[in-house]
């Protein structure tokens, strides 16, 4: 950060470009990159996952990596595609939340589906367990090894294969970074149908493998709808070529759906065909301050009525989230609103006609002000302000992570009880005397996607420990099941939620999932110990 600031101060060039950095707002993606790749010592103090979760036992059916294996991999990959250096391995063994730390001794970076096929076929025959890894931005420990699994990083597969300017179908390698794809499409008047805070690091393959939701889901739907086809390598080395660009195809079982959200437990996604919508010509963003959750719901209802087809995002966060964001984000500087409010809403509209959208949004917002539904608000006047308002929302996970060891829950439920989860959790910790200065927990934070009924509940503790975990779990999962919700709305299961699957899925469904797994990955080498409940 410091180097960036000094660069800003040394800027004398006075052009459109020179404006970008100083006004650009938070660069938390840059900050992320700094610790994940350039500073291995950042992780050195972390405890290994297996020490933290002693119930995990290495499966005896897997062989340990031998010299013979290494020489095989060297025969098919360039030396720059093989990582064995202990320091370099840290970035692949650790997740960015510093919650999970594996002990892999080998990272392979294939550059084609054929190479992935050769690797998997060999690993399957030799009973070597593997972990597919994209941008490693997951939140449930799904993308890092637990024991000595070989990491297969898709980072060397980052080519765009084709783009259809008429239909908007984009076909690209799995290792393409989401933001790079979005920039590519922007130049052609299109947009990626998904967007999330980690866009500068995450890979499209990882997005699909984890069925990532994100900020545009309200408008463009989930990846189950926007993904048109996949290229997947199965554990036996079969390359499943289903890179269709068709919108309609009712022939046979829709196999790609099985891999979307399978978290690397069935195969490795090597390429994605995805339908991108046209980029809206006019975008508006408003940030609103409200006094209570009833007002928030009223605003949501009215936005569907009055903004209807131009509404493209409806995000919320609470006072605690705003407090942390202000404290930890260097940001586009100052607080947009004059005082702190219990709730904040970020509304985005996207449409084709600015005058039409402006009028709709202004009428809507003035109505809310006049009826006292909202207390205060600002409307972004230019792209810088749009960017900076979004940066607050996108920076909240990062800001929370600076508050300590953060237990993250990502639950979906009917909107009316959305915030009750936060209040009940807070009340529980207060009752137990576990929250406050010098206590185990410092804060309970709520934010998320109101439009999707998706709450991100963050509980900040002084450290990850059994005592803290036991105060939150299984309470939060039972709470969610009681309110007919899902224990993982968009983050997936990985290592942190797999054993709680029964709160959201019936025994017969879990049994069928096991049969699929057994059928496609009979030796269980694909991302073991995760996703399905351990037996």
């Amino acid at each position: 950060m410091l180097t960036m600031l000094s660069r800003i101060h040394s800027l004398r060039a006075i052009s459109r470009l020179s404006l970008k950095r100083p006004l650009g707002g938070i660069n938390f993606l840059g900050a992320r990159a700094t610790f994940s790749t350039h500073n291995p010592s950042y992780f050195a103090t972390n405890r290994f996952t297996v020490d933290e979760y002693p119930y995990l036992k290495r499966s005896e059916s897997f062989n340990r990596l031998s010299e013979k294996d290494i020489s095989y991999f060297k025969s098919i990959l360039a030396s720059s595609s093989i990582t064995q250096d202990a320091e370099d391995l840290e970035a692949f063994n650790n997740d960015w939340l510093r919650k999970y730390r594996g002990q892999s001794k080998l990272v392979l970076k294939p550059s084609s589906a054929e190479q992935v096929s050769q690797i998997l076929k060999y690993c399957n025959e030799q009973r070597l367990a593997v972990v597919p890894q994209g941008g490693n931005t997951g939140l449930v420990g799904g993308s890092v090894p637990v024991f000595d699994e070989i990491v297969i990083s898709l980072s060397h597969m980052s080519k765009i294969r084709s783009f259809d300017e008429v239909s908007g179908a984009l076909v690209c390698d799995a290792g393409c970074i989401l933001e790079v794809l979005d920039k590519y499409l922007e130049e052609r008047g299109y947009i990626m149908p998904l967007d999330l805070g980690a866009k500068g690091s995450c890979h499209i393959g990882g997005n699909v493998a984890t069925n990532a939701g994100g900020l545009r889901l309200l408008r463009y739907g989930s990846l189950h709808g926007t993904v048109l086809g996949l290229e997947v390598v199965l554990p036996d080395g079969t390359i499943l070529d289903n890179l269709s660009t068709l919108r309609k195809d009712n022939t046979g079982y829709d196999l790609k759906q099985l891999f979307i959200g399978s978290e690397g437990t069935l195969g490795i996604i090597t390429a994605v065909s995805i339908l991108s919508p046209k980029r809206s010509k006019a975008t508006n963003v408003a940030l609103l301050g409200l006094n209570n959750f009833d007002q928030l719901q009223a605003t949501f209802k009215r936005s569907k009525d009055e903004l209807s087809e131009i509404l493209s995002a409806f995000e919320f966060w609470d006072r605690e989230a705003m407090r942390l964001a202000k404290q930890h984000l260097v940001a586009g500087a100052h607080d947009p609103l004059q005082s702190l409010y219990p709730f904040y809403i970020l509304i985005e509209t996207s449409g084709s006609n600015k005058d039409h959208d402006d009028e709709k949004l202004n009428t809507f917002l003035e109505g809310l002000m006049t009826d006292d539904v909202i207390q205060d608000g600002v409307v972004a006047q230019d792209s810088t302000q749009i960017h900076n308002l979004w940066a607050i929302r996108e920076g909240i996970p990062e800001a929370c992570s600076k508050a300590g060891a953060v237990y993250k829950y990502d639950i979906s439920m009917p909107v009316p009880v959305l915030y009750q989860a936060v209040e009940d959790m807070r009340a529980r910790l207060v009752k137990e005397g576990a929250i406050g200065d010098g206590k185990l927990f410092s804060s309970v934070i709520g934010y998320g996607h109101v439009g999707d009924g998706n709450l991100h509940l963050n509980v900040a503790a002084t450290e990850f420990c059994k005592e803290a975990t036991d105060l939150i779990e299984p309470y939060i999962f039972e709470w969610t099941a009681r309110h007919a919700g899902s224990i993982s709305a968009e983050h997936g299961l990985g290592l942190s939620k797999n054993n709680h699957l029964h709160y959201s899925k019936s025994p017969s469904m879990i049994q069928l999932m096991r049969r699929f797994k057994q059928l496609i990955d009979p030796n269980g080498i694909m991302n073991p110990y995760k996703y399905l409940p351990l037996v």
Partner: protein
Amino acid sequence: MSSNLRILVACKRVVDYAVKIRVNAAGTAVETANVKHSMNPFDEIGTEQAIQIKEKSGGKVEVIAVSCGSDKSQETLRTALAMGADRAIFVESAEELQPLAVAKLLKAVVEKEKPDMVILGKQAIDDDSNQTGQMLAGLLNWPQATFASKVELAEKAMTVTREVDGGVETIKTPLPAILTTDLRLNVPRYASLPNIMKAKKKPLTKLTIADLAVDVKPRLETLKVTEPPKRQGGKLVESVDDLVDKLKNEAKVL
């Protein structure tokens, strides 16, 4: 500082800074149709500065936003009003206005309104001319403080810190004077909903070129507009030898 003060702020409507600009097919200008426009960021800083002076002052300060250009420039003025300007003046012109023409128009407005200070962005990000403020100072024969990163007002004078090559320079000038803003002067505020609603009721006066009797004929002719050459993509090298080889034989820098 407690005496009454009137500040004129120039606000230009430009292609939004985040828009990736394209040259039109004929190679004569930048494409502006169907492209997001906003207030010139340096003018936004100027508007913020005027409002901060108003807020900090004990006396009565009037902030007048002025914009010259097409009908759409009124949107930019509404933004200035929503930020906190008291009233606005819109000088309508369907024709292209070059810096000298704008300086002359502003001079005419200054003669009408008699402000104590005119604040302009140091430049507009569309043409990067960096001339209007200086020309206006020349036409009015007023002192000028350009590239301001800090402004302090005293009785009928101001102390301005300027960003110059290799450091900063602090100057003092009597009022009336011209001030042009640099990037680090302040961070412009957001337009709040209550202020956006109030802004609709604030007075916006429309003037024409004829009203001000100014010759706005262009003095400069644009011959050609071209995009900068495309950057080549980076390449991954396999080894140090490979790198040295490429530096020697491809880049020819060794």
